[in-house]
């Protein structure tokens, strides 16, 4: 018998599959998408006892082979070998939560009935024991007809035995009768098997029931959630600053090095002004993204995220969404890209589309530099109340403005374009668990890597293109380079369009490169005002003085309102195209957000002028 070359982890959501996957494969994982669909394919390698390599994939959690979400559909097609370009795994490793055996045995029977080589990992036996459940693996093995290995993924217990069982998983024949068993019959069988395998079951004394009394309390629960969110935002915006400054310093040092080592010329300018400042301005957001994801991963791994979704459901329902949209929208405060990717867990397609379309309205970290410069230049730094400054209040107002706008847009969309039956909210609230540091680090590393890879590809390319547009054709003698460039010509045309809402030509010019990323608006304003400072903080300061001298207050306020809406982020558009499989929805997103940006910038400008500000 030859050793199998591929295996896949299959099981219900919350069976501890990901922890088992991390424990079996370590950090050497490859994340890609399944061909043609936008579901993440996680694969890793493990060494079998004979020395052979086996590719292990972690399939999305599933409650049954009749799929109700894109994730479950992929699991079904991979198991059945129906996904083109993805051969069916040779061995199926069924992951069952020992503490929730009866429920998980329903799907298990369906998988075992396929007659493929199968091994059962009876996972989280320690938590089951904590709940007073003792299970006899041998009894389970006899009832199921496949090998059963007790495991505790987070403590690496039972892994060697599980790998040995995978290596020697034998061919089985499918029982044609079993394929036609109904769900109800399977549930009856699951109950019988669980009854027989459970040796003892004491009165439930479950920690998580007590935690739920606190976290799902009708009054305390929401207060705890909002307190927690406050801590998260504090950490994201205050905690990330030293790291972001260090990164900025590093990029500045690289720029200086390039200036001193490379002779002046177009090539050097491309490297310093184009690549280093463009890609660098995006990379400095890495600390914020890592910190936000740390909290999100902890909330997910501990089981709290499902409670947060439960608490937020009522609020989301009032605009036609469900608690499931809360997680993607929370992520969008760091960056809309991971937020939009996180919508994959929303099973209702209309819900998912609505969430994708409003995600860019959450104030992402790229807007902060823009807001910071304008607020510092135009809003007086005085206290409204003791400890509450006017500047901070304006910043908070911009965040609230974005959230309220997102809710209103969702309300309108759910009654028009994404109209349909009110979306439901059905989800399992998993057991509370202590997150394992190793799993968190692997998750953080993967998120950071995806972000950096994008900065190295898409953002890199856009930056180079914009630099070329700004630098060609070359200016003649005594002519301003920006005026002569293609970008300058475009800005002249754009200025006519944005003039009614109070924008001048300099703003029009800054909006073009800001299509790559919003924060580029700051550096390009600085460039066009020819403030020759390298350091961004210094640039921002000097820029602020120039701005307050050159712009009227209505113009500045209109500029802020514009950035609440304007979808100026190539990566968001690109990821929306990928997640919605076409240009229709990113096109719609661009149109409606630019429309609202224009409208609200205009309203702000006209109102401010009318008020005589």
């Amino acid at each position: 018998m030859t050793a199998p070359r591929s295996a896949a982890l299959v099981g219900n959501p919350n069976a501890g599959k990901s922890a088992l996957f991390n424990a079996l494969t370590g950090a050497r994982q490859k994340i890609a998408n399944y061909p043609g669909v936008t579901v993440e394919r996680k694969a890793g390698r493990l060494v079998l006892p004979g020395g052979a390599m086996l590719e292990l994939t972690d399939l999305p959690g599933s409650y049954g082979l009749n799929a109700t979400s894109p994730d479950e559909e992929v699991t079904r097609r991979v198991i059945l070998g129906e996904l083109p370009g993805e051969p069916a795994p040779e061995v199926l490793v069924l992951v069952l939560d020992a503490a929730n055996l009866e429920q998980h045995l329903v799907f298990a029977q369906e998988v075992i009935a396929l007659g493929r080589p199968t091994v059962v990992a009876l996972n989280m036996v320690d938590l089951a024991e904590r709940d007073g459940l003792v299970i006899d693996p041998l009894a389970l093995e006899q009832a199921l007809g496949v090998p059963v290995v007790p495991t505790v993924a987070v403590r690496r217990r039972g892994l060697v035995e599980l790998i040995a069982a995978i290596a020697s998983a034998s061919e089985r024949t499918s029982d044609p009768h079993l394929a036609h068993v109904t769900l109800t019959e399977r549930r009856v069988t699951a109950h019988a098997i669980a009854e027989a395998a459970i040796v003892s079951e004491t009165a439930r004394h479950r920690l998580h029931a007590k935690l739920d009394q606190l976290f799902l309390h009708p009054w305390l629960g929401p207060l705890i959630l909002f307190g927690l969110l406050f801590v998260v935002f504090q950490a994201v915006f205050a905690g990330a600053t030293p790291f972001a400054d260090a990164l900025e310093g590093g990029i500045g040092a690289l720029t200086d090095l390039a200036r001193s080592q490379i002779p002046p010329g177009l090539a050097r300018d491309l490297l310093t002004e184009g690549i280093l400042s463009g890609v660098g301005s995006v990379v400095v957001f890495l600390p914020q993204i890592v910190i936000l994801f740390f909290f999100i991963l902890v909330m997910e791994a501990s089981g709290y995220m499902a409670r947060a979704a439960f608490l937020m459901d009522r609020l989301m329902a009032s605009v036609g969404l469900s608690g499931r949209s809360f997680i993607p929208l929370l992520s969008s405060f760091a960056c809309a890209i991971p937020g939009i990717m996180a919508t994959r867990s929303i099973s209702d397609p209309r819900d998912r589309l609505t969430t994708i379309l409003i995600a860019p309205l959450m104030t992402c970290s790229a807007r902060l530099p823009v807001y910071a410069v304008i607020i510092a230049a135009f809003i007086p730094n005085r206290a409204v109340l003791p400890g509450i400054g006017l500047q901070g209040l304006v910043l908070l107002g911009l965040y609230v403005f974005g959230i309220v706008a997102a809710m209103l847009v969702a309300l309108v969309l759910r009654r028009s374009i994404t109209k349909g039956a009110a979306s439901g909210f059905i989800m399992e609230l998993p057991k509370y668990q202590m997150p394992r540091l190793g799993d968190l680090l692997i998750g953080l590393w993967q998120r950071a890597w995806i972000f950096l890879r994008r900065a190295g590809t898409i953002i890199f390319m856009v930056t180079v293109v914009l630099w070329l547009l700004l630098n060609f054709p070359r200016a003649g003698e005594g002519e301003n380079q920006i005026d002569a460039s293609i970008a300058g010509k475009i800005a002249n045309g754009l200025a006519v369009v944005v003039e009614p809402i109070g924008f001048n030509r300099d703003i029009a010019l800054s909006l073009i490169p800001a299509m790559a990323a919003r924060e580029v608006a700051v550096s390009s304003l600085a460039t066009s005002y020819a403030v020759g400072a390298d350091d961004e903080d210094l640039q921002a300061k000097a820029l602020g003085e120039r701005l307050s001298a050159d712009w009227s207050l209505p113009t500045a306020l209109a500029f802020l309102a514009w950035f609440v809406f304007a979808p100026q982020c190539m990566s968001t558009i690109a990821v929306t195209r990928r997640e919605t499989n076409g240009w229709k929805w990113p096109g719609f997103m661009l149109a409606y957000l630019f429309g609202l940006a224009y409208l609200f910038a205009g309203l702000t400008y006209w109102t401010a002028v009318w008020l005589g500000l």
Partner: protein, 81 residues
């Protein structure tokens, strides 16, 4: 009595479900989570800030969140624990 009216903490058995009133996808999901005819359930939590939505239902050793609209489609009879 329908499930949405079941007092918190009172054990009950689902005796009938009006599946036709639920979206097919929702019906499948509820069944997959074990919320089905014959299941023994109890309401653990209901709503926030004195609202009545959503509902956290205990089914066996699991807790399942659902909306009042789903619970209204389910006929339950109280049982003694």
């Amino acid at each position: 009595m329908t499930l949405d009216l079941l007092p918190i903490g009172k054990p009950a058995r689902i005796v009938a479900v009006d599946w036709a009133s639920l979206a097919e996808e929702e019906a499948l999901r509820l069944q997959a989570l074990g919320v089905d005819e014959g299941a023994k359930v109890s309401v653990a939590y209901r709503g926030i800030f004195s609202g009545r939505d959503p509902i956290a239902l205990t089914v066996g050793r699991m807790t399942v969140a659902l909306r009042r609209a789903h619970a209204r489609a389910m006929l339950v009879e109280p049982i003694t624990a």
